[in-house]
Structure formats: structure tokens, C-alpha cells
Symmetry: C2
């Protein structure tokens, strides 16, 4: 019944297997979304009320509304502030950056198109890419993110052997999911140089880029002279994920085609609501406030970890974003998960962040975005006890 | 840069060319969406406020909320009331039926897959199908909708000649867009019999099925013993299109695959909002009220047309839905459109409803869903005058 490409896609594990099966009273250290106290529920509700009073039915129709249309200008202004050339590039609002990843994959990939990802990387991006290609290459990372030296070796080797070359690299250069690490400027320049030399495109997922705790990293897109970077932005982490508002910024030729396949599959109502909210508040101030909130949360989690975790457990302190990537030598985190859930704490097992589960067995991802700060120490204590109990002497 | 399939898709006209370029004070007889007075703006706003008071951040997160999840049950109950077997079939909420059409096309079609459509048919479905196939066959229709006799001939002929056979028929059997006509029960049975005989699937777009003015038509899906019908429902016409809530009901094997490619590209917030709204109101009563409203609007438009249109202009009075399909002998409606817009009235030219514009030059679609009833006579008067002036003596 299905197309040959879809039949290939169905051979991979169904999406969502990474999601732990949690109960309500669980300490959700798995959760990559904002805490209830951080989501501006009342402000968003008020924004919608006012919007519907002013624009009445318009945001509820197909074709958007003045407010919905103003969102693009707000986003483009922010992009300009962050050094991205919005005259040379076109920005298109999408249903979260997830829709943009899906559409970019759909228009660029056939099943033999080689796509590179970081190992580890965002599991949902892996799921989406697997819907379109069988040829994913995992590139090693270290405490500074993607190893551009290793990447250069892999590319050089392939070129020497006359192997098919990659078309696309999917990367989260700032406050990586799941590792939390950030690519230094020199590596960013090296990466762009490699993209130019070997003619591949870079899909830059910048979901966490605004949430830095010390220094703002420069986006790859702002360094992109060659037009090789397809930039993905999102309001999921700085407002709320359920609004499904993201965007793609790239050369018009590419974005026009994304637009054709997107058609009207965006969200006129939530786009107008978000625009109304952003007009009500001081966005720059709000982002600064979020940085303080998440920095405090990171500190609380890291302090609890430093105090309680066994000596052999290690992590790289993240300088932004949502996540800490924890190395648990001798402990299979997928096997440990049922006991953790039973004891009332959740995490995402490391294997889910590796293509086909090939790696990360002794890693887990903790998130400091969702759990009450008052519960973090307890969550970490439970995990530390379990890690001690699960550890196989080597 | 793009895949071979996408490169083929880009050869077709870009989507949206059918949309007339209207000014604010235009009498919008082109508009296939509900009038401002029909959209329950205040009720939806209140529903969202209450929802966020009760469920707080949950509908704003990724994973939905109790209310968002209850939407599926509400929809399935309504499907059961309309005779559809929801045990044998699976229902998946989508971002409007537009997302469902897109995903069904994506998983079933390659560029040489033969897809049949009615001539004329919904222009946005044509645009979506053209993104995935080059092999569209247009099947003639008459005042009772799809001619199943013509369809049988075409299929028989293809089979005799050993030509590749169609995989899918896209149809709007009830209150068709743009023709407004409805397929009689005998033709529905004949169509299902042909689908069984020639092994094709039927994509049934039932966007208008609830909006009947005399008798409720039976859905194809409720008559579908063979599992060949993929049913598409929508709340766009019975609540508001900007919510982007629709669904697909079909055999689990197909819907599971739609779900994999849909991933989390749905709208947790608007789904929860709609569910909250449907819990607040009496849905059955509301649909009955909408039937009365749209019947009154149809009557007003048809009366104005009967009074003012030249004798040679003709139409089939629709028994439900939003549209009247008007035959204007001797008048090229695409050529007449700029003058109509200049005179303050809009319509959709007939050609846009034919694949590759091959037909419908002397037809136009009027909608009675949006325009104030008090303005309909004036809109029709302007059109009648233009038709008289544009008519070429034959």
C-alpha cells in the first residue's frame, strides 16, 4: 500500500519509544519543557482575550490576521539583532521547528541521501530524519560539541575513497540536546569551511540559543557567508512548546519550496496569540529573566549532583539551555530506568540519542527546566542511590 | 538541491493562485469560511480562559492535556452517531483535514501513482496532490456529483488496455466544493463496488457533511465494508478554520503510518480549546443551528440570483454546505474577475477547480457562508451586470 520510501521508513522503530512511562507524582527530570511556573499562562490567556476582542473572528479564520502577520516582523527583528541577514534570507513561520525539520528533510532527502548528525543528538530529529533517509552518519562529539577535526577526517576519507558525499549536517551548536555543550567559535568557523569545501548544507537547530548563562554564542547562520546554513528557531523554550511556533531562515530558493510543501499547515490562532503576547511584554527583558531563572535551576541541579552523585559519575556543566548529560560508568541507564520510575524519578536513557541506539548506554539526560527546584535534590538522591546499586564492578 | 520528486512538483503552478486579490470593502462571495457572526468567538475565548484556569500550563506543553485528549473521544462518538465503525477503524486528530490529505498523499503516492479526482474539485486538494504525483485523472461530474458510469467506463477501458490502474480517488461526496451537489446513495454504492472491483482507495472529504439542509447524506465510510475508504473530517466549517482541527478515520494500518509521519505536528492548545468548547455547548444542537443559519443564507443568495441573473446563467441549488456553482455561458470568468474586484465583489473563477486549469472557464463559485445576507443582493446585482456586459454573442 505504501510508497517504497515509506516502507523503508517503517522498518525503523516507531517514534516515541524514548518517552518514559511516568506517573503523576514522578520527579520529571526527563522533561524537556518549561516548568508550570515559567509558562506565562495568565499573560497568554489575557493576550488571546484582547486579541479576539480587537480582531474578532479574524485569527480564527484560514488566512491569519494583522497580529498573526506581525509575528514574522517580530521574529525577523530578533534575527537581525542576533546578526542574521534577513534581507538575503527568507524567514517562514512553521508549526514549531519540528515542522521545519520535517519539511527540509522531505524536500532534500531520498533514502540514499547521506545526512550527518552529532552523536548523540536530539532523538526526535533522528526519528524525523529516519522517515526520509537510510544513510545517517554519526559524527563524534566531545565536551566542546561536534568534533570538527573528526568530521574533516571522515569527509576527507570519503572523498579519497570516492564514496557518496553527505548533503546535510543536522546540528545543535548551542546548549546541545542532550549534552548541554556549546561549539566554540573556532569550531563554528571550521565547520562552515568544511561545508563550503565539501558542499554540504547545515541544518542549525537553535532552540536553546537565547538561553545562555554567561555569553551569547554566535549562531552559525550569522557567520554563514556561503548561504549553506538553514537556521531553525523556536519559541517552545522561551514561551511554550504547545503553541507550536517556530521558524526557518534560509536562502529564499529553499524557503519558497518549504513553503510550498507546508501550504497552510500553520497555526493562525496561536501565531496571532503569540504576536499579541510579544507586543504586550518586553521580549528582550523576558528572555533575560528566563536566562536568570534557568541559570538558577541549573545551579540547583548541579549542586545536588556534586553533593550526592558517586565519584565515578561525571558531567560537563552546561552554560545554557535545559540539559545535563550524565556519564554513569558501569551502569546501563536503559536497564536502570524501570527502577528509577518505580522510585519516582524519570530521565531519558542515553541510547535514545544515538542513531539506532548505537551508543550512550552508560549515559542519561537530566533536565533542569521542569522540576520544582525544591524537588531536584530528592530526585538526584534517588538516582544516585540507584546508580550505586546498579553499578557493575569492572 | 531538491529531490527528483520535489523538482517535478515545482514544475506546477505555485499554490494559492486562485485567491482573488481583494480589498477590505469587497463583498466576499469567494470566501469559503464562516461569517464573523457565525464564529463563536466569545465562547471560544471563554473556553480557553476556563481551560487555562483548570489545566494551567498543560495545554501549552508538548504532550497535550486531559481536555486535548478528550477531543478524540468526542470526535469518535460523533463518528459512531453517523454510522462509522470506530472499533474497526482508527481515528487520528490532524491539523485540519488539509494535514490529513497531505500525509495520505505523502505515504501513498509516488510521481507515477494514478490518482482520480472529480472535475471540478477542491483546488487546495489539487495543489497538495500535485506535490506528490504527476498522474491525475479527472472524472466527469454532473448535477448528482461524480458520474460513476463514466468512472466505470474509464476503469474498464484502462483494464482492457492493460494500462496502470488508479490507486486513489479523492472525492467530496456531500455538498461538493465547488459544485454544491451531493452523490445519491445508489452512486455511493456503485462507487464502493468499483473500488472493490478495481482495488483503489477512496479519500472521502466530508468537510461539509454535517451541514445538510433537508436530509443527512450517508458517508461513504459508513457504507464501507471493504476498508477502502479513508474518511476525512473537519471542524473548520462547524466551528472555525483557524483552529486547524480535523481528523482521519481509516483502517489502523494506514492511520498508524499517517501518525508516524505526522509526529507531534498537531496543535495541543487548539485541540484542548476546541474540546473545552464542545464540552461547554450542546454540539448536536449547535450543528442543527448552523444548518438553519446556512440554509437561510443559501435561500437569500439563490433568491437574489433568481431575480437578477441573466436567463442563460444557471446553477444547481445546493442542499447543504457553502457553495453555488454558477454556469455563465459565453463568459470567461477568469477574464471577468478584475472587473468584478474593481466593482467590489469577489468570486473564485471556475478554472481553478480543474486540474491544470483544463475546464471551468465559463463557471464561477459563489459562497453563501461569509457575506452578510444584507449584502448578497448587491453582490449578485454587480455580478449579473458584469456577466451581461462580458457575454460574447455566440
Amino acid at each position: 500500500m505504501f510508497t517504497p520510501s515509506v516502507r523503508e521508513a517503517l522498518k525503523y522503530e516507531a517514534p516515541g519509544a524514548w518517552m518514559p512511562n511516568i506517573t503523576n507524582d514522578c520527579i520529571r527530570l526527563h522533561a524537556g519543557y518549561p516548568a508550570p511556573s515559567i509558562v506565562p499562562v495568565a499573560e497568554l490567556s489575557k493576550s488571546l482575550q484582547e486579541l479576539l476582542e480587537v480582531e474578532r473572528d479574524r485569527p480564527l479564520q484560514y488566512s491569519g490576521s494583522p497580529r498573526a502577520n506581525s509575528l514574522l516582523t517580530l521574529v525577523e527583528t530578533r534575527m537581525q539583532q542576533r546578526g542574521i541577514d534577513t534581507n538575503r534570507n527568507r524567514t517562514l513561520i512553521t508549526a514549531g521547528s519540528a515542522q521545519a525539520i520535517d519539511l527540509v528533510a522531505q524536500i532534500l532527502l531520498t533514502r540514499d541521501t547521506i545526512v550527518m548528525v552529532e552523536a548523540p543528538t536530539y532523538m526526535e530529529a533522528l526519528e524525523t530524519l529516519r522517515n526520509y533517509t537510510d544513510a545517517i552518519i554519526s559524527i563524534p562529539t566531545d565536551k566542546d560539541g561536534l568534533s570538527t577535526v573528526e568530521l574533516a577526517k571522515i569527509l576527507e576519507e570519503r572523498a579519497l575513497q570516492n564514496l557518496p558525499m553527505p548533503k546535510l549536517l543536522y546540528t545543535i551548536p548551542s546548549f546541545h540536546n542532550p549534552t548541554g555543550v556549546t561549539l566554540p567559535l573556532e569550531r563554528r568557523r571550521h565547520l562552515l569551511q568544511l561545508a563550503e569545501e565539501y558542499h554540504f548544507l547545515i541544518l542549525e537547530d537553535d532552540a536553546y540559543g537565547e538561553l545562555y548563562f554567561t555569553e551569547a554564542p554566535r549562531t552559525l547562520k550569522s557567520l554563514d557567508e556561503d548561504g549553506r546554513v538553514i537556521y531553525l528557531g523556536s519559541l517552545s523554550k522561551v514561551i511554550a512548546p504547545g503553541l507550536r511556533v517556530g521558524w526557518v531562515t534560509a536562502l529564499p530558493k529553499l524557503v519558497d519550496t518549504v513553503d510550498r510543501f507546508k501550504k497552510d499547515l500553520s497555526h493562525p490562532l496561536t501565531e496571532a496569540m503569540v504576536a499579541a503576547y510579544l507586543h504586550r511584554i518586553d521580549w528582550i527583558n523576558r528572555i533575560a529573566e528566563l536566562r536568570r531563572i534557568y541559570r538558577g535551576r541549573r545551579d540547583t541541579l548541579l549542586q545536588a549532583m556534586a553533593k550526592t552523585m558517586p565519584d565515578e559519575v561525571s558531567w560537563v556543566p552546561p552554560d545554557g539551555g535545559y540539559f545535563v548529560w550524565v556519564h554513569t560508568p558501569g551502569v546501563d541507564t536503559l536497564k536502570m530506568l524501570p527502577a528509577a520510575l518505580e522510585n519516582g524519578v524519570s530521565y531519558v536513557a542515553g541510547q535514545h540519542f544515538y542513531d539506532l541506539g548505537r551508543g550512550g548506554t552508560q549515559y542519561l539526560r537530566l533536565s533542569f527546566s521542569y522540576v520544582d527546584e525544591s524537588e531536584m535534590a530528592e530526585g538526584v538522591r534517588i538516582l544516585a542511590t540507584l546508580i550505586r546499586g546498579s553499578s557493575n564492578p569492572r
